[in-house]
C-alpha cells in the first residue's frame, strides 16, 4: 500500500483536542459497562463478607450474571447510541476511548465472561462430597493440599465463592484494557485483570499442586512482563513527555504543537521511542501468548481449573489483542515501517512454533494451549495488515475464536475419571463410541480450530488471511496455510482417537452436566456454526467497528 501523508487517517477520526486544561469531567454514561462490572464485583465482595456461607453461591451467581448482562446491555446501548462510529470519542480526560473496537471487544468480553460464569458455577460434574454439590474450585484455597484443614473444609462443604467477584474484577480490567487511551490506564488495567487471574489459577479443587504451580509461574512471569511493560511506558513517556496515546502519536508523527526544549531533545532520541515501544509490545505479546513469550501458556492452561483456563484463553486474548491493535494503530502508526517487519517475524514463529510443538502433545489442555498459540499467530497476521480490513478481521476472528475455545474447554470439563478431569489424550480413545454426542461436539470445535469451511474458524481465518493479503503480507498467508496444515494434523489426531480407536476399559466416563455447562457448550456450538455459515452480519458489525478514535 502507498504511504501517503498522514497514513493513520485511514483508521482514525480526528476528535477535538482540548485547547486548555478543562475541569475534570467524566462521561459516566460512556464508561457505564466498566463501572457496572466493577460495581458488581464490589457487591460480590460484600456478599462474601455478609451473607451466610450457604446462600453465597446463589447470590454470587445471581449478582455476576446480572452484572455481566447489565454491562452487556450498556455496551449495546452505547453501540446503538452510535458511540461506535459517529460519536466515537475519547472520554474521561483522555484516559478511555469509546469507539468501535472498544465497544465490540467489550461486548465480546462480556458475552465470553457470561458464558464462562456458567462453567464456573457448574456443580454437577464433581461427585457429591459429604452431601454437598461442589464445583471445580478448591474448598479452601489456603488449606494445604491433602492436609487436615482441607479435609475439614471439604467436610464442612466450604466452597470458594470468591471466584465470582474475582472474575468480575478481571472482566472489569479487561473492559478497560482495549479501550485504554493512555499508557498508564493500560498498565493499571493490565494489573487489574491479571491479579485476579493469578489467584483464580490457584483455586483448582483437583490436582491442586499443579494448580498452585500454574499460579506461581503465571504470577512471576506476569509480574516480570509487566515490569518490562512499565519500563517501556517510562521510556515512551520520556520520549514524548506524555503517556496519552494521541500525544505520543503526535510526537511520533512530528505534528506536535508548542515543542518545549526538553521535548525537542527527547523527540530527537528515537532509541527511547523504539526501545520503549518494543518493551510495551513485549508486555502485550506476553498476554497474547506469542512466541517467544508464550512459554507460560501451556503450563498455566494445564494447571488452572479448566473453567478458568477457558475464560483466560478466550477473554485475555480478546482484551490483549484489543490493546495491541490500539497501540499499533493509534500510538505507533508512524512507526509502522519499524514494527511491521518485527511483527512479521513474531507472527511467523508464533504460527509455526505453536503448530509444530502441538503435534506431539499428549494432554488435551496443553494441546489446546499450543493451538491457542498458533491462533495468536494467525490473528497477528491480521494485525500486521494495517488496514481497516485488518482491524475488523481481527475483531471478527477474536469473537469467533473465543467462543470455540470456551466450548472446547467446557467439553474438557465433562470427561472425567476417578482423579477428576481425564485430560490425558490416551484416555479419550473411543470416546465417540461411549458418548457420540460429546465427541461430535468436540469434533466440531476441533474442526473449527482447524479452519474447516462452514465453521467460524474458517470464516475468521479467511478474513484474516484476506486482510493480510490485501495488506501486502502474502507471504504470511502462505506460512499461515502451511502451519494450518500442520495444525490440522493434530486436531485430526484427536478425532481419530475419539472415533476410530477402541474404547479403553479403564476409560473416563462423561459426566452429565447441569443446564449451566450444557448451555455454555450449546452457545459455543451455535456461535461456531452461525459464524461459519452466515458470518455476514457479524462481519458488518466488525467492519463498522473497525475505526479507532484518536
Amino acid at each position: 500500500m502507498t504511504h501517503a501523508a498522514p497514513v493513520h487517517s485511514l483508521w482514525t477520526t480526528a476528535a477535538a483536542a482540548p485547547d486548555k486544561i478543562p475541569a475534570p469531567h467524566i462521561e459516566y454514561g460512556q464508561l457505564s459497562p466498566t463501572l457496572i462490572v466493577l460495581g458488581g464485583a464490589i457487591l460480590g465482595v460484600l456478599v462474601e463478607a455478609f451473607l451466610p456461607r450457604r446462600q453465597r453461591y446463589g447470590a454470587q451467581l445471581f449478582v455476576s450474571v446480572l452484572t455481566l448482562a447489565a454491562a452487556f446491555a450498556a455496551v449495546v446501548g452505547l453501540a446503538a447510541g452510535d458511540y461506535g462510529t459517529g460519536k466515537a470519542h475519547v472520554a474521561a480526560m483522555g484516559a478511555i476511548a469509546v469507539d468501535g473496537p472498544a465497544l465490540f471487544l467489550q461486548g465480546t468480553i462480556l458475552l465470553v465472561a457470561l458464558v464462562a460464569v456458567f462453567t464456573f458455577a457448574e456443580r454437577r460434574l464433581d461427585p457429591v462430597a459429604h452431601g454437598n454439590q461442589v464445583d471445580s474450585f478448591a474448598a479452601q484455597a489456603a488449606a494445604v493440599p491433602g492436609g487436615e484443614a482441607e479435609k475439614a473444609a471439604v467436610k464442612a462443604g466450604f466452597t470458594t465463592t470468591e471466584v465470582f467477584p474475582l472474575v468480575l474484577f478481571a472482566v472489569g480490567g479487561m473492559l478497560v484494557f482495549p479501550s485504554a487511551n493512555d499508557l498508564l490506564t493500560l498498565f493499571v488495567a493490565l494489573e487489574v485483570f491479571s491479579l485476579p487471574l493469578y489467584v483464580l489459577c490457584a483455586l483448582a479443587r483437583r490436582h491442586r499442586m499443579l494448580s498452585q504451580e500454574a499460579a506461581v509461574k503465571y504470577f512471576l512471569l506476569g509480574a516480570f512482563s509487566s515490569a518490562f511493560l512499565l519500563f517501556g511506558i517510562a521510556l515512551l513517556y520520556g520520549y514524548a513527555g506524555t503517556v496519552g496515546y494521541a500525544g505520543i502519536a503526535d510526537v511520533v508523527d512530528g505534528q506536535v504543537r508548542n515543542v518545549t526544549p526538553a521535548l525537542a531533545g527527547t523527540m530527537g532520541n528515537d532509541a527511547l521511542l523504539l526501545i520503549g515501544g518494543a518493551m510495551v509490545l513485549m508486555g502485550l505479546l506476553f498476554k497474547i501468548g506469542a512466541v517467544p513469550f508464550h512459554m507460560w501458556t501451556p503450563d498455566v492452561y494445564q494447571g488452572a481449573p479448566t473453567p478458568v483456563t477457558g475464560f483466560m484463553a478466550a477473554a485475555t486474548k480478546v482484551a490483549a489483542f484489543g490493546a495491541l491493535l490500539r497501540l499499533l494503530y493509534v500510538v505507533l502508526p508512524g512507526l509502522r515501517w519499524d514494527w511491521r517487519p518485527v511483527m512479521w517475524g513474531v507472527a511467523i514463529v508464533t504460527m509455526l512454533g505453536g503448530a509444530i510443538v502441538a503435534v506431539t502433545q499428549t494432554d488435551v489442555k496443553r494441546l489446546l494451549a499450543y493451538s491457542s498459540i498458533a491462533h495468536a499467530g494467525f490473528i497477528l497476521a491480521g494485525v500486521i495488515a494495517t488496514t481497516p480490513d485488518g482491524i475488523s478481521s481481527v475483531l471478527f476472528y477474536l469473537a469467533a475464536y473465543s467462543f470455540v475455545t470456551l466450548g472446547a474447554f467446557a467439553v474438557v470439563t465433562l470427561v472425567r475419571d476417578a482423579g477428576g478431569e481425564a485430560t490425558h489424550l490416551s484416555k479419550w480413545a473411543g470416546l465417540g463410541r461411549r458418548s457420540p454426542l460429546v465427541a461430535a461436539v468436540f469434533a466440531v470445535f476441533l474442526l473449527a480450530f482447524a479452519g474447516i469451511p462452514l465453521t467460524s474458524g474458517f470464516a475468521g481465518k479467511f478474513a484474516v488471511f484476506k486482510a493480510a493479503a490485501d495488506g501486502g503480507a502474502g507471504a504470511l498467508v502462505v506460512v499461515g496455510v502451511i502451519s494450518s496444515a500442520i495444525a490440522a494434523f493434530f486436531y485430526i489426531r484427536v478425532i481419530v482417537l475419539m472415533f476410530f480407536s477402541e474404547p479403553r476399559t479403564d476409560g473416563p466416563s462423561v459426566a452429565v452436566p447441569s443446564v449451566l455447562t450444557s448451555s455454555a457448550i450449546a452457545i459455543g456450538v451455535a456461535v461456531t456454526l452461525v459464524l461459519g455459515v452466515a458470518p455476514q452480519y457479524f462481519l458488518d458489525l466488525a467492519g463498522q467497528a473497525g475505526v479507532f478514535v484518536r
Binding site: 457420540p436 474442526l447 485430526i492 476410530f500 477402541e502 462481519l539
Partner: protein, 548 residues
C-alpha cells in the same frame, strides 16, 4: 423468482442425511430405506435438471444468485453448464446403487452388543448422503469461494466413511485392520486438506487481485472471466501462475495425479467397496471437473504455460498406474491403481486443449464413474463372500458363481475400455484429441490400452478361472439385491457405448465455450477431405470442425 431447482437438488440429500441420522438406534433397517428414498428423490431432481437443461441455451442455466458474505465478495451463485449437469446426473445415479450395495456394510457385527447411543448404520448412510449433497453443490457452484467451501467440507464425511467403516477383518486381526483403516483415513484427509489449504492461499490471492482491479474482490466465475476478457481485470503473469498452481495442486491431489496419488490406494483398499466407489467415481470427479471449470477458465494463460508439465505427469499417471495395477496382490488396490491410470487419461484429455480431448475427458468422467462402480461393487460382493481382498485367495469362482464372474468380467472389459462399452468412446476421444496436437504423447498413451488389458485379464484369470479353490467352493452367486445394483450399471455402460450422442450433445457446447475462454482451436487436418462426403448423414449438419 423461479423454482430453485439446483438448491433443492443439493438440499434434498442433505435433508436426507439429517433424517437418516435421526432414525432411532433400534430401527437400523428403516435408516437404509430412508436413505434410499432420499437418494432416489435426488435422482429424480437431477433428471429434471438434465431435462430442463437446454444444450443450445445459455452458458450457465438454472442459475441462482443471492448475496451471502459481501465482505468476502462471496455470493451464493449456482448454475450448471453441460459438463456440470451431466456430472450431477452421474452422482445422482450412482448414489442409490452405492446405498444398495452397502446395504449390510454397516450392520452391527454378529455378537456385537448394539450400543444404545452408537448408531453406525444411521451414520453410514447419513454420511453417504452428506457427501452426495456436498458433491452436487460443488458441481453447481459458479462462485469460487462457494465451491471451495464444499470442496473442503466434503472431506469430513468422506473421512468418517473411510475411517469408520471398513471390510470385516478377514485374514488380518481386528486391530491391524483398525490401524490400517485409520491410517488410510488420516492419509486421505491430510493429503486433501494440504491441497485444500494451499488452494486457500490461492483463493485469498484471487480475492486480492480482483480487489485490486475491480475495486471490490469477487469470486464469481462469470464476472472474473468477463472482466478478464474485457481487460478490466488483468492479472500479472507471475501472479496468475502462482494462483493457478495453488488451485491445480488441490485438484491434482483430489484427482489424483502422479505423484500425489498414494492416498487413493490406501483409501480405496481399506474402505468398503461402496465407499471406494464414492471416492473414485464421485468425489474425485470434483477434482477433474474443477480443473475444467476453474483452472482453465480463471487462468487460461497459466494453464497453457503449465500444459507441457501436466501432460507429462498425466502420461506418467497413465502408465505408472497401469503398471502398478499389474503388480498388485490386492483386488481393491488394483482397481485403485487402475483408476489412477484412468484419471491420467482424463487429465491428459483436459489439457490437450482440443474439443475431442476435453469432450472425451468429460465423457470419461461419467463412463469411468459407471465402469469403476460396476467393477468395484462386484469386487465388493466377491470380497464380502470370501472375506479376503487378496487375489491369491480366489480361483475358479466362475465355476461356482457364473453370474458374479460374468458381471465382473463385463466390469473389467469396461475398465479396459472395450469397444461397444462406454469407456471406449471417451478413451478413444481423449487419445485422438491428444494425438491431434501432441502425436508422440498420444502414441505413448496407447501403451495404457495394452496394459489395461493385462491387469484386467490377469485379475479375471487369477480370481475367476482355473480350478475351484476350496475356500471358494459353495460361494453363493449374486443375490437379487446385488443383481439389482449391477445390472443397471452394465445396461448403462452398453447404452452409453452404443449411443452416447445425447450425452455428447449436452457436453459439446460447454467444451467449446471452455476452449474459447482458453482461446484454443482444434488443429486442422492436413488434407481435409471434401465436406461433401459427410452429406449422406443428416446428423452432420452441425459444426463438423476439421471436416469443413
Amino acid at each position: 423468482m423461479s423454482f430453485p431447482l439446483l438448491t433443492v437438488t443439493a438440499a434434498v440429500p442433505a435433508l436426507g442425511a439429517i433424517a437418516t441420522a435421526a432414525v432411532p438406534a433400534a430401527k437400523r433397517a428403516a435408516a437404509k430405506w430412508v436413505a434410499l428414498a432420499f437418494s432416489l428423490a435426488t435422482l429424480v431432481l437431477a433428471a429434471v435438471a438434465l431435462v430442463r437443461f437446454d444444450p443450445g441455451g445459455a452458458r450457465f442455466q438454472l442459475t441462482e444468485s443471492h448475496a451471502w458474505i459481501a465482505d468476502f465478495g462471496v455470493r451464493y451463485e449456482l448454475g450448471v453448464d453441460g459438463i456440470a449437469v451431466v456430472l450431477i446426473a452421474l452422482t445422482a445415479v450412482l448414489i442409490p446403487f452405492v446405498i444398495l450395495a452397502g446395504w449390510h456394510d454397516a450392520d452391527p457385527l454378529e455378537g456385537e452388543r448394539p450400543n444404545r447411543r452408537w448408531r453406525p448404520t444411521q451414520g453410514f448412510f447419513a454420511l453417504i448422503l452428506m457427501v452426495e449433497a456436498m458433491v452436487v453443490i460443488s458441481f453447481e457452484a459458479t462462485d469460487v469461494f462457494l465451491f471451495y467451501i464444499f470442496f473442503e467440507a466434503m472431506l469430513i464425511p468422506m473421512y468418517f466413511l473411510i475411517g469408520g467403516f471398513g471390510d470385516r477383518a478377514g485374514e488380518r486381526s481386528e486391530e491391524e485392520t483398525a490401524t490400517q483403516r485409520s491410517y488410510a483415513a488420516v492419509k486421505f484427509l491430510l493429503y486433501n486438506l494440504a491441497g485444500g489449504l494451499i488452494m486457500l492461499a490461492a483463493v485469498v490471492g484471487l480475492y486480492a487481485v480482483t480487489a485490486d482491479d475491480l475495486g471490490t474482490g469477487t469470486f464469481s466465475l462469470q464476472q472474473i472471466v468477463q472482466a478478464r476478457a474485457s481487460g478490466d481485470l488483468s492479472i500479472a503473469t507471475g501472479t496468475e501462475r502462482w494462483l493457478f498452481l495453488g488451485f491445480f495442486f488441490a485438484f491434482a491431489v483430489k484427482a489424483p495425479l502422479w505423484p500425489l496419488h498414494t492416498w487413493l490406494p490406501n483409501a480405496m483398499g481399506e474402505s468398503t467397496a461402496p465407499v471406494a466407489v464414492l471416492i473414485t467415481a464421485v468425489v474425485d470427479k470434483v477434482g477433474t471437473f474443477a480443473m475444467l471449470r476453474f483452472c482453465l477458465q480463471l487462468f487460461p494463460e497459466a494453464s497453457k504455460w503449465a500444459t507441457p508439465v501436466i501432460l507429462v505427469l498425466a502420461l506418467i499417471s497413465i502408465i505408472y498406474g497401469a503398471l502398478l495395477a499389474v503388480g498388485q496382490r490386492d483386488i481393491k488396490r488394483l482397481i485403485a491403481y487402475a483408476s489412477i491410470s484412468h484419471f491420467g487419461f482424463i487429465i491428459l484429455g483436459i489439457f490437450a486443449m482440443t474439443t475431442q480431448g476435453q469432450g472425451g475427458a468429460t465423457l470419461y468422467m461419467v463412463n469411468h464413474g459407471i465402469s469403476t462402480a460396476a467393477l468395484m461393487l462386484v469386487a465388493g460382493f466377491l470380497i464380502t463372500r470370501r472375506g479376503s481382498r487378496l487375489i491369491a485367495d480366489y480361483g475358479g469362482v466362475q465355476k461356482v458363481a457364473p453370474v458374479l464372474a460374468g458381471t465382473f468380467l463385463i466390469g473389467g472389459l469396461a475398465t479396459l475400455s472395450l469397444p461397444g462399452l462406454a469407456p471406449f468412446i471417451s478413451e478413444f476421444l481423449v487419445l485422438v484429441g491428444t494425438f491431434s496436437r501432441y502425436p508422440v504423447l498420444g502414441i505413448i498413451a496407447t501403451v495404457g490400452i495394452v496394459l489395461a488389458a493385462l491387469y484386467v485379464l490377469v485379475l479375471y484369470q487369477r480370481t475367476m478361472t482355473g480350478p475351484v479353490k476350496d475356500e471358494v467352493r459353495g460361494m453363493p452367486d449374486l443375490k437379487a439385491r446385488e443383481l439389482l445394483v449391477v445390472a443397471p450399471l452394465i445396461a448403462l455402460l452398453i447404452f452409453l457405448g452404443v449411443y452416447p450422442k445425447p450425452l455428447a450433445d449436452i457436453v459439446n457446447p460447454a467444451v467449446d465455450h471452455t476452449l474459447s475462454v482458453v482461446d484454443e482451436k482444434d488443429p486442422k487436418p492436413d488434407h481435409p477431405v471434401d465436406a461433401g462426403w459427410f452429406s449422406y448423414s443428416p446428423m452432420h449438419d452441425g459444426a463438423s470442425g476439421g471436416a469443413k
